[in-house]
Every structure is written in structure tokens, then in C-alpha cells.
């Protein structure tokens, strides 16, 4: 596992092997967040329950998922961005039947909704852009792009 942190420290960029199930992946990412006290105990269970009932897979510029739990599980307002060597199948948002192969996961650990309006808008814009997403996956300096685009919203 390769880990990089943004300049502001609130964005963690992980590179993981992937290839397993979405619940294995959310367990792995959730453990990362719990151990570093970005999320509170119970985060993993909450993420898996939520993803089961209301999936977050998206067919965007590349396949992405944006898992998040109730805000009570946020310890530190932050975002864990995960790029996967092998895609992981997620159920598509708003569907009970369709799956999407996911290459990038954005675990959102947020608190107040009003404060994060711009952050969520910026994430939405990023996942729609092929060049930005390819840079996130392939570029060694992707963490600098994330710092520039998102740090200010997480401070």
C-alpha cells in the first residue's frame, strides 16, 4: 500500500491492489481511516450497511465510488482517495441491478453540509473529467493536484 498526504494533511491518497469485493475494499479503507482516527469506531459497519442499501458506484469519466457514512462517524473532516490496480465491482448508485467496475474510490468523512457544498461540487466536476481522473490514477504528482483542488475546502 502506497500512502501520500496532501499539504493540508486532510486528503490521504492510497494506492491499493483491489481486485476483491466492494465490502472487502470498504473494510480495508475503513480500517485505514479508523486506525488513523479520521473516522470513529463503527465506521466500517456503517459504510458497508449504507453501501448495501444505497450504493455509490458511478459510471463517470472512469468508474468511481463515493462511499460515506452518517456524519457522526467523522472524527477528522477529511477525504481518503484510493486508486486501485485492479477494478472492484460496486453496485451503481440509484440502481438495484447494475454494477460498475470502479478504479477510484473517494471515502468522504465530512461534517456540516453547508461548508462542504463547494467540496462536493469540485469532486463532482473532477470525476466527470477524463484527463483529471487519468492523472489521479497515473501521475506521481496526483497528490499535488488533490492538494490544490480540495485542501482549501477541508481546512
Amino acid at each position: 500500500m502506497k500512502v501520500q498526504k496532501s499539504k493540508g494533511g486532510c486528503i490521504h491518497l492510497l494506492q491499493l491492489a483491489g481486485g476483491g469485493t466492494w465490502s472487502e475494499l470498504l473494510t480495508e479503507i475503513g480500517e485505514y481511516a479508523e486506525v488513523r482516527e479520521l473516522g470513529k469506531k463503527g465506521l466500517i459497519k456503517a459504510l458497508i450497511e449504507r453501501e448495501t442499501d444505497y450504493p455509490t458506484g458511478l459510471k463517470a469519466a472512469v468508474g468511481v465510488a463515493i462511499p460515506h457514512a452518517e456524519q457522526v462517524y467523522t472524527e477528522v473532516v477529511s477525504m481518503v482517495v484510493v486508486t486501485l490496480d485492479e477494478p472492484v465491482m460496486f453496485r451503481q448508485m440509484g440502481s438495484s441491478t447494475l454494477d460498475v467496475p470502479v478504479k477510484v474510490v473517494f471515502l468522504l468523512l465530512l461534517q456540516s453540509s453547508a461548508r462542504h457544498l463547494d467540496l462536493l461540487g469540485a469532486i463532482s466536476r473532477l470525476i466527470q473529467k477524463k484527463d483529471g481522473m487519468m492523472r489521479l490514477i497515473n501521475d506521481d504528482l496526483a497528490i499535488d493536484m488533490l492538494s490544490a483542488d480540495f485542501d482549501e475546502y477541508l481546512m
Partner: protein
């Protein structure tokens, strides 16, 4: 002044995907000078009262259309960007119809 109509955006937690959808729709409404609609966001389990006031619902969830009295639009394309224009046009059509313009 006429009371504003309500476009209600519903998602599971009421703060993440609904906010993404809100951004796309409010940009569109501004662009088209539609100022007689207000946008609210809510979580599915908190939405009972708000649903009663809604004129149009956009959601990132699979909702059973027959459980609601107003049109339901799937808002997922506004987050992924795939099919975004079509969905914005669909929302615009609903707004025009509800406003009695068509």
C-alpha cells in the same frame, strides 16, 4: 409575490450526493433565469414533511414513483456527468409543465 415552488433533492444521508445534485441544478436554473423555484435537500428518512411540499423530486436513490404524488427524476447523471444534459432538459420540461408554460 407568488410563493416559490420546491424542487426537493433526496439522497440516503441528505448531505453528500444531494449536495452534488443541488450544485448542478442550481447552476442550470441560474443560467436559465428560473427564479421561482427553491431547492431543498433531504435524507430519505427525514423527508416525509418535505415531500408534502415538493413540486418535483430529484433523487440519487431508486424511488418507487407510485409512492409519490409528484414527478420523480433520477439525479445520478448530474453527479457522474454521463447523460447530464438530457436529465437537465427533463427537469426543465417538468418545471415548464408545472409552471403552466407548456
Amino acid at each position: 409575490m407568488k410563493e416559490k415552488r420546491t424542487l426537493l433533492i433526496m439522497c440516503a444521508m441528505g448531505y453528500a450526493t444531494s449536495t452534488m445534485i443541488k450544485k448542478a441544478i442550481s447552476d442550470y436554473l441560474n443560467l436559465h433565469n428560473i427564479d421561482n423555484w427553491k431547492i431543498e435537500t433531504t435524507a430519505l428518512n427525514m423527508s416525509r414533511e418535505l415531500v408534502g411540499h415538493a413540486d418535483l423530486i430529484v433523487s440519487s436513490l431508486e424511488l418507487a414513483a407510485d409512492e409519490y404524488q409528484v414527478p420523480i427524476v433520477n439525479g445520478v447523471p448530474l453527479i457522474s456527468g454521463i447523460g447530464q444534459e438530457e436529465i437537465l432538459k427533463e427537469i426543465h420540461e417538468h418545471i415548464r409543465r408545472i409552471d403552466g408554460l407548456v
